[in-house]
Amino acid sequence: MADDVRLWSDELARDPSSLVFLPLAETLRRQGQLDLARKVAVRGLERHPHNPDAHDQLARIQADRGDLQSAFDEWDMVLRLVPGHLGAVKGMAFVRFQQGRLDEAEQLLMQAQGHLDDSDINAAIDTVRRSSGVTTAVVAAGDLPSDPHLLFADILADDQTAILLDKDGLVLAGAYYSANGDDVAQDVGASLSGVSDEALRATKHLGIGPWRSILFETEAATVTLAPAPPQGSAAGGLIVVAAAPATPLGQLRPLLERIRSRANAWLDLSA
């Protein structure tokens, strides 16, 4: 892979109009070198402003960087160049979904469904409709879900799960479902008990300031931990979010923020 990056970089240096900027930017994106990937994609676009793949590439990089609106704009450009481009429609729907604009997300997906029979599209429409239903119910009640297990349900996609733990690893809210459908939140909480303290000690010892997150990759999921809001029973606790391993890391941060802000609101209400 490193050899490929070197080869493509050399080729690009020799011939700045070469299309190798596309695989180069994609590889850098996959390696998490998002700023560099963006730079390569933007330079490529300067040479190939009407290349839909280049706009699509930049959109995915921007989405990974958490710059959702820029990603949306790039996918919008792809659609102008190639009407009905499935990847662009899915990308735009994803952005609107992440922004909580569920009606628009559904509309975009319906539009794509009209052109193609894609099982991914159908599944995405189901997800949006389910989320939309839960959100509407929450707003109509003017309150958060009364069952703490469902506190984060409307924020999470099907392949995501989240829990709020106290400092002893006891579950305060959320649910953590295994692949078998069992709620293993208590087991996960118990095994993570004390992580917050240890992270604090490690960062203090290294003099690198307060810890913000711990991320670890497993075969079946990418798990992110963050300090729980320092309120009431959650003080010193953890927020745990698990997502499918293919989820770009740039998308986990905004998700973690939404979970944290929901936890905050719930703790405020419970105080």
């Binding site: 998490g32 070198q33 996960v188 095994s191 240890e198 670890f216 497993t218």
Partner: protein, 114 residues
Amino acid sequence: MSDFTAVLDSLTRQRGVRGSLVVSAEDGIPVDSNLQFGQDGNRVAALAASLYRKARKSAQAAGLGGTGFMQLEAETGRLCVIGGDEIILVVVAERTANVGLIRVELLRAAESLA
């Protein structure tokens, strides 16, 4: 010079990396280290190993399979870890270090030690 010197050197050569350690996975005792931050690595090794063990245990509890790369991100620095059954590799880096490159180097180093 130990068996790990080359691996540690290649990790510590990455921009923004302040040190790297090979640590016993079970007891958190450093096996070898290349530290540039003027501190005793014993505590870093113990804390990194403990955090990684907890990550592994929670992954097992959730039926998520084996654990690979782990990263602790703090205000001005990062601690990156990757592990096998017997040893783990730990990298201490500045916040501005390229975590994508560190991850790739750690994966490569872990493979070479497997």
